[in-house]
């Protein structure tokens, strides 16, 4: 540690008051790990600011003192993103939890970092609105999910949650405050267009280029009619072909398929073979409409896609999901699908994934290789694929529970996941919310010009490399 802890602690107390700063060993321990395989590391100090001005002062001080700062909201990501690689200060932003605006006509909301999905869902529901709820814990942060390319459900045809961003306010690593998008020009928070997309310097950057203190996000009306259409297929090839054919209509709010292992509650851990007489893949599509007729039209399109697939000899066929499972697809946010119950109820506390965006036509190749890797390592290939914005983004990931009581099992899961990531990269996939183990693989293959530009952006914004240092790997 090259900085003076006592001095930094005192300066933090001067800014925030004694009550909101701690270097107690147990406090640091509680912030040293998350759900994932990422190795625990303790921060030196944890601090809880409440205002933008306090964050500005803290970052200015951190620059003077050259002390690392890691922004933290709920600590519920599964990529170790808030585990401090180089110690320093964790800034827990949960006290900043105001919903500043919900604009019903323009359909956007402006929120602070500590606003959870549960909190936003309650506030939006009163106005008949919804957001792209992820299947994450309801206590997770909406802002952190969006700026880290988190994904939502029921809004899949509009894209990832990072594509819902309309404006943002950021405290730069050097303490200056900036507003981007329309909020930066006119003070209205409705759009990122048609201005230069400087917001990109803060999205997907894992908190290494500043602290986003306000975020504008699109919200949508809750439709009056909904249905869940469910099918099964014998193999990933048939399922992928069906999803691409049906996905091209951009009619489904959520178009997802899961392997047999992910459909089990909880995921079999360790691996257990699928019974021969059960299909390997199941898919659900959530459709919605403002009239019965609109819903019916979408159902017709789906029947057409399904028929065309079957005429081509596909094994895909209608498959009735249990009512409860169907409801779980639309009743979001959800403690049940959103917590780790379905994934790691009894595995031993660990959960990680190779979470990637992989072109849909490459899913079969990736899944078949993942299956081999996972089974070889005694893990269930509990894979999910989802299409976003029609067929534009193909999400491919494997929920991987493991037993944290045994270092050998943690290592095994981690190696399986990294191996799976290598396969995804081979076929054109890219990881999201990546732990550094993934970035090591990414940078091996990335265009050198891209890597250089990431470094330059980071250096320009954060000359002393204080923001979540090490997490982006380039610095």
């Amino acid at each position: 540690m090259s900085w003076d802890k006592e001095r930094v602690y005192k300066k933090l107390v001067d800014i925030l008051g004694d009550e909101w700063v701690s270097d107690d060993e147990f406090v640091r321990f509680a912030y040293s790990y998350d759900l994932s395989f990422v190795e625990p590391k303790m921060p030196d100090i944890v601090a809880l600011p409440e205002t933008v001005e306090e964050i500005q002062e803290i970052l200015k001080m951190a620059n003077e003192e050259k002390v690392p700062v890691v922004p933290f909201t709920a600590g519920t990501n599964i990529g170790g993103l808030c585990i401090p690689e180089k110690g320093g200060i964790i800034l827990d932003l949960k006290r900043m939890n105001r919903i500043i605006e919900i604009n019903e006509e323009m359909r956007y909301a402006v929120i602070e970092p500590g606003v959870s999905h549960a909190q936003l869902a309650e506030a939006l529901y009163r106005k008949g609105l919804q957001f792209g709820w992820p299947v994450g814990p309801p206590s997770a942060s909406v802002l952190a999910c969006a700026i880290n390319h988190g994904i939502g459900h029921l809004t899949g045809r509009y894209g990832l949650n990072s594509q819902m961003i309309t404006s943002m306010e950021v405290v730069l690593p050097t303490g200056e405050l900036v507003r981007l998008g329309s909020a930066g020009i006119t003070g209205s928070w409705h759009a990122l267009y048609p201005v230069p997309r400087l917001d990109g310097m803060f999205i997907g950057m894992l908190g290494t280029t500043g602290i986003v203190t306000k975020l504008g996000i699109n919200v949508w009306a809750i439709p009056d009619y909904r249905d869940v259409l469910t099918v099964s297929a014998e193999n990933i090839e048939d399922m992928t072909s069906y999803m691409i054919r049906w996905g091209r209509y951009e009619a489904a709010d959520d178009l997802t398929a899961v392997s047999w292992w992910l459909a089990q509650i909880p995921i079999p851990y360790p691996y257990r073979p699928k019974p021969d007489d059960e299909p390997e893949w199941f898919s659900y599509s959530v459709i919605s409409g403002y009239t019965e007729k609109e819903l019916e039209a979408k159902r017709e399109m789906w029947e057409m896609a399904l028929r065309e697939e079957q005429e081509n000899g596909s094994s895909v066929k209608e498959y009735e999901y249990p009512e409860e499972a169907k409801r779980a697809r639309t009743q979001l946010p959800s403690q049940i699908v959103g917590s780790t119950k379905n994934y790691a109820k009894s595995a031993g506390g660990g959960i990680s994934w190779p979470g990637t965006f992989t072109p849909a036509p490459k899913w079969p190749e990736a899944f078949n290789r993942w299956k081999e890797i996972y089974i070889r390592r005694g893990l269930s290939p509990s894979v999910r694929v989802t299409l976003y914005r029609g067929t534009h983004y193909g999400m491919l990931r494997a929920m991987t529970p493991f037993d944290k009581r045994d270092p050998e099992k943690i290592r095994n899961a981690k190696e399986a996941i990294v191996e799976a990531l290598q396969v995804a990269l081979d076929v054109g996939g890219i990881p999201y919310k990546p732990p550094i183990e993934f970035l090591e693989e990414v940078y091996k293959r990335a265009d050198p010009g891209y890597v250089e530009l990431v470094k330059r952006v980071k250096d320009m914004l954060d000359p002393n490399n204080i923001m979540n240092p090490g997490k982006l790997l380039v610095r």
Partner: protein, 380 residues
């Protein structure tokens, strides 16, 4: 048999994924419910305090030796109300052992000498006087106008009601009388159920008196036991069940709301707009949610629910030894709960636990706080 020690709970602790679902109360609805659920987390905010996630971290820290009994760890452990609000949210296999883990951690802390001195005093009082208030056992009969004896029902009054909230046993006795139910009380011979000791980790002291508590009941030869105290009810039905006390298996415990539901036949209607506060020990921890509500309907109360009700009820702030050791925090929490109730425009707050009554009254609400039995008495 007996209390589960921390080491025995290790596997359960490792079922916690650190997902954070326990940080807030949430149900899908519709409409969705979102609300704070952890009183100590509301106060201290750090993740080291918030919900059962912090308690699994604590267990891991102690079990692996990653940290010692740091000041914050001890403070977080003992400012917890053991209310179970977090447990209600959790969906993993840690859920059934969350409260046991908190109490087992407290037991370890007590052994390590890291616990609030007020809790130590409670243990001394119970061992010496058989009640946590250090009162002369004779005073347990002060509320009673006669020594109730006979009948097929034993009314286990509990220390708080007998010594601090005499209006509750008085009301209960009048209700029994009005219904023509003969009953027995143990009076000065009634021994504390041990709840304050068990919750605060003073297990050695608890184990010294629990057998005696059951013996006194068994000696009466009566098997139907009714309590007005949510804490006694939970303790006698849940904690004692993991021991092997002689005669215990023959006993049938009921909370008074369960016992009275099909017996009362009100002669008048209360006609009062009330809200019902679920005591943690009766609701979440013993799953008695509907009987008190049905009784309120039966006596003609207009029941308006608080947003946080049943499993999502917000603790009154008293439980888990917090009232004794951290009275300011207990009051801060009860004020929040009272505000929630008052916002409904009700005429009274009703609950079914003397400890809740006391702490909610301490918040000086603008409307009276009643134990449900007091309202039942008004209508008979």
């Amino acid at each position: 048999m007996g209390f589960k020690k921390l080491e025995e709970l290790k596997d359960a602790v490792y079922m916690c994924t650190y997902c954070g679902t326990c940080k807030v109360a949430y149900t899908y609805g519709p409409p969705p419910l979102f609300a704070p659920i952890c009183p100590q987390g509301e106060r201290f905010k750090f993740d080291a305090y918030l919900g059962s996630r912090s308690k699994s971290a604590m267990a891991k820290a102690i079990l692996t030796g990653a940290t010692g009994w740091t000041d914050t760890l001890v403070n977080s452990l003992f400012t917890c109300n053991v209310c179970g609000g977090c447990e209600y949210q959790c969906q993993t296999d840690f859920k059934p052992e969350i409260l046991h883990t908190i109490e087992a951690l407290r037991y370890e802390a007590v052994k390590a000498g890291r616990f609030p001195k007020e809790h130590g005093r409670i243990a001394e009082n119970v061992l010496k006087y058989r009640n946590p208030y250090g009162e002369d056992p004779e005073r347990k009969e002060d509320w009673a106008d006669s020594k109730y004896e006979g009948g097929e029902l034993l009314y286990f009054v509990g220390c708080t009601a007998a010594l601090r909230r005499p209006e509750i046993p008085k009301a209960a006795a009048e209700v029994f009388k009005a219904l023509g139910i003969e009953f027995t009380i143990l009076g000065k011979d009634e021994v504390c159920c041990g709840s304050p000791l068990i919750r605060t980790g003073q297990w050695d002291a608890a184990e010294q008196i629990m057998g005696e508590t059951i013996d006194r009941i068994v000696e009466t030869g009566i098997t139907d036991v009714v309590t007005t105290c949510a804490g006694c009810y939970k303790t006698l039905t849940r904690d004692y069940a993991s021991f092997d006390f002689k005669g215990y298996d023959k006993l049938k415990f009921q909370h008074i709301t369960q016992y009275l539901l099909d017996k009362i036949n009100p002669s008048s209607s209360l006609g009062m707009k009330v809200t019902y506060h679920d005591p943690c020990h009766l609701g979440r921890q013993a799953e008695v949610y509907e009987e008190p509500r049905e009784i309120l309907r039966k006596i003609g109360a207009e029941l308006i629910e608080m947003p946080r009700n049943r499993g999502n009820a917000y603790c009154c702030g008293a439980g888990g030894g917090v009232k004794g050791a951290f009275p300011d925090l207990a009051l801060e929490t009860s004020k929040k709960r009272v505000e929630e109730a008052e916002s409904l425009g009700i005429e009274a707050i009703v609950t079914a636990c003397p400890f809740c009554v006391r702490n909610l009254q301490d918040a000086e609400p603008s409307v009276p706080v009643y134990d449900i039995i007091e309202l039942v008495r008004k209508t008979l």
